[in-house]
């Protein structure tokens, strides 16, 4: 298309002189601020040249001793079951987050909720998002006791923050037509949400849940390190005994399961979105870009 139109030459106005960049000074100031911050930080970290130069060697040594991984020993100790337990925790946690966040998202969306309710709900999402799962688990473990239920609950509560925010954005992007149709027939607010909004956002929201599930699998593996169930405890105990071949096996199993779930979940997400809006999900890069923009607030052209 572009090549078909002949290039036109516009020679009416003389080209404007480009404005000289004025930000050179500011750029140097930014570099100076970063340099000072880094120098100050390094000074606080007890870094000696000796340690700095020795660290890559030490790390390499540990990784080398993990090969070959002791899969037989790991299977005897029931590591595969622990990895699956982490997946279960992530799944239940994601469901708790989904069930709690969806109704709240309707109360936080600008197009369907009044200001007085939407402001506190949004602040609630922000506060929840700021507290990591591990910290929640630290608070929950004395109440629920050690075990997977503490982990699932911590993940569930933390997920409410992000899931709520994403679902709110999905609801704010709906077509108002069906909502007006429900209002025109005299439907109540709840009916409008159920028949006018929910069918429109459900595909997007479901794929958000799956995306959060991928994140939560990693999070639940970590939660085991402080005793909230799953594979983390296994990693910690093998590292304490410096049984590196077993550590290698634990790591390998975790990586395989995480990658498998990422791949499967991405495939399902792609199908959900493609089925919802014909053509819209054909390009997975677009979907990723949208999620990334959500996560970072940065929109790449």
């Amino acid at each position: 298309m572009v090549a078909a139109t002949p290039p036109t030459i516009e020679a009416a106005d003389p080209p404007e002189r480009p404005v000289a960049p004025r930000r050179a000074g500011r750029r140097w100031a930014a570099v100076a601020v970063v340099a000072v911050a880094v120098a100050w930080s390094i000074s606080g970290l007890e870094v000696t040249m000796d340690r700095l130069l020795g660290a890559p060697g030490d790390a390499w040594d540990v990784f080398r001793r993990m090969v070959p991984p002791a899969f037989g020993e790991a299977i005897d100790r029931g590591v595969p079951g622990k990895v699956l337990e982490s997946v279960h925790i992530a799944w239940i946690g994601t469901l708790i987050g989904a069930v709690l966040s969806l109704p709240l998202a309707f109360l936080a969306a600008g197009n369907v909720a009044p200001l007085w309710i939407r402001t506190p709900v949004r602040q609630l999402f922000n506060v929840i998002r700021a507290v990591p799962e591990l910290i929640l688990a630290v608070i929950l473990i004395p109440i629920t006791g050690l075990g997977p239920w503490a982990g699932a609950l911590a993940i569930g509560v933390h997920s409410v923050g992000t899931l709520g925010k994403w679902a709110t954005e999905a609801i704010e992007g709906v077509d108002p037509g069906p909502l007006e149709a429900v209002a025109a027939t005299g439907g109540r607010w709840v009916s409008g949400m159920r028949w006018g909004v929910l069918p429109q956002v459900l595909p997007v929201v479901t794929s958000q849940w799956l995306f959060r599930f991928e994140i939560n699998v990693r999070a639940s593996a970590v939660l085991g390190m402080i005793g909230a169930g799953g594979v983390g405890s296994e990693l910690v105990s093998q590292l304490v005994f410096r049984n590196f071949p077993a550590v290698g096996a634990v790591l390998a199993m975790t990586i395989v399961v995480v990658l498998a779930i990422d791949t499967a979940s991405a495939a399902v997400r792609r199908r959900i979105i493609r089925g919802a809006v014909p053509g819209a999900g054909d390009d997975d890069a677009d979907r990723n870009a949208a999620v990334l923009a959500d996560l970072t607030g940065i929109r790449t052209p």
Partner: protein, 245 residues
């Protein structure tokens, strides 16, 4: 069929996890809550108890952001079909980064604590690996989407690979690079709070120690202080990012 499978799996997972709705109301009547109150503010605001480890947390985050993002620049270029020097580098770097990303962040921390010893030094390295993984994921997509025309022009003029990438792609993606760097810094500030739970230095080590003494009032005070400070830093960083892009 699929729905039935999902429901069956959910029931099975719920059983394994010990799903128990009664926790939700038992939480409120739990006598342990009294241990969270009152918060000993003069202990929390003491320099040696809390403020020094908090400063250490931010130092870890700053160093890790710089190392991770610095390494991410060449790795992201190696991972994009647009700028990879050849196919082998592309495939190898993508596979390695996929595996690195599949290892949860605190697993890295624990491994490095074992390798180089307990403390902030291990934490900085662990967080550097984490920043590298996140930054490469974010930034390589920007590189993928960069305008290929300056690159083609530089190639057509006979440039070698490195100068072509530096002059053809780097200037167009630099603003996003800085913005993502700030975003990774925010993530690192949050992540460095929990590093101490596995012995990798920072404020988490105070939380872990007090938790083991069952001083939940102190834990709560530390957490409140941390989240106020983290919130302020995030707001500043978000404001800077908005002006950049």
């Amino acid at each position: 069929m699929a729905a039935a499978l999902v429901v069956a799996y959910t029931v099975m997972a719920g059983r394994t996890v010990g799903f128990d709705l009664s926790t939700f109301w038992q939480v409120w009547s739990n006598p342990l809550w009294e241990k969270f109150w009152p918060v000993p503010w003069d202990w929390v605001l003491d320099r040696h108890n809390v403020l020094d480890p908090l400063v250490e947390t931010f130092q870890i985050a700053i160093v890790a952001t710089l190392i991770g993002c610095g390494l991410a620049l060449p790795v992201a270029f190696a991972m994009s079909p647009l700028t990879a020097p050849n196919r082998v580098v592309l495939v190898v770097s993508r596979s390695i980064m996929n595996v690195v990303r599949a290892v949860p962040d605190l697993f890295w921390a624990k491994l490095l604590v074992t390798a180089v010893g307990i403390g902030a030094f291990a934490g900085s390295w662990a967080l550097s690996v984490f920043s590298l993984a996140v930054m490469v994921k974010l930034f390589s997509e920007t590189v993928d989407g960069a305008d290929p025309r300056p690159l083609e022009a530089a190639r057509a003029a006979g440039g070698r690979h490195m100068p072509v990438v530096r002059t053809g792609v780097l200037p167009t993606v630099l603003p996003e690079y800085v913005a993502y760097g700030l975003y990774v810094f925010e993530l690192n500030i949050r992540a460095s709070v929990v590093l101490g739970l596995v012995g990798a230095g920072g404020i988490g080590r105070v939380v872990e120690a007090q938790r083991q003494y069952f001083r939940f009032d102190r834990v709560l005070g530390v957490l409140v202080l941390v989240f106020v400070v983290v919130f302020v830093i995030e707001q500043v960083s978000v404001a800077v990012r908005k002006r950049l892009v």
